[in-house]
Symmetry: C2
Subunit: 153 residues, 2 copies
Amino acid sequence: MVDPHHSELSESVLHGDQSLQKAGLKLTRPRRDILRVLEEAANTGQHLSADDILQQLEIADRQVGLTTIYRVLNQFEHVGLVDRHNFEGEHAVFELAHRSHHDHMVCVESGRIEEFCNSDIERLQSEIAEAAGYDLVGHRLVLFVRPQKGGTD
Amino acid sequence: MVDPHHSELSESVLHGDQSLQKAGLKLTRPRRDILRVLEEAANTGQHLSADDILQQLEIADRQVGLTTIYRVLNQFEHVGLVDRHNFEGEHAVFELAHRSHHDHMVCVESGRIEEFCNSDIERLQSEIAEAAGYDLVGHRLVLFVRPQKGGTD
DNA sequence: TTCTATGCAAATTATTTGCAGCACT
DNA sequence: AGTGCTGCAAATAATTTGCATAGAA
């Protein structure tokens, strides 16, 4: 059954809808709203914290409790809909799960986060693990960068 | 992988002593004890959390307040005496600062943490940053691995 | 003695859980 | 009516801060 209300939502959200149902999660207003915010963030390549999402929702006049945000975010993560990151070490940030693997580059001046993927590095990682007698099952790579030309930012 | 000198760690501690004085930090009992615990951990390649250190100190009958441990750890970090890591995302772990840069490999089965350094990966990282218009100022790389030969556990 | 260090308790921050009420089938 | 969803408030966990006292130079 399709709810006429979300006709304004993009395909991706509908896709998320499917994922949710498949995972036994009902597509409720809070979940839809959170999904939408994550969507927008994905478009601009942003990574949001639970609180960021709360702010966005308040701005959009779509009240959702912080508790629910945390709970939904965890559910989404378990379902594989979103990825959780811990760049800051203080609070986690989330992003809609990507189809493909990628790593992050964080600008220490602007806070901007860019994504990249380098097969050479990926391969080297496996080699390193193997050489140490292990099998690589995952990894986390974050580059901290700063604008090249003496940027005033 | 056992180390020869395991009873007397005075030498290195004295080194830390110098670093502390140079940084304007007095060598007090708590700081010396914490340094000693970090020393032992370094010998066995362990990374300790503030609470781990508290435990170690209690075992060694050297009472130090958790508050002090956190405070000292921060001071040590600022002085460049220890490095802070956030493998778990919940609590930070520390290790005596290494003279040389290195990354980590965490075994998802045993929790064991190994260190490594690969110049090819380091170089690739710079190239990636440059290509994106940035200068690499730092990075964090953690490989999650599992013992090779069929995990029998 | 002077200034820094310590530690207990209270404060913070990020996140989770208990539980009563609401929603949808 | 039943089962899942929400959100407030209280509970946690990790870490920090206020403040009076103890300690190093």
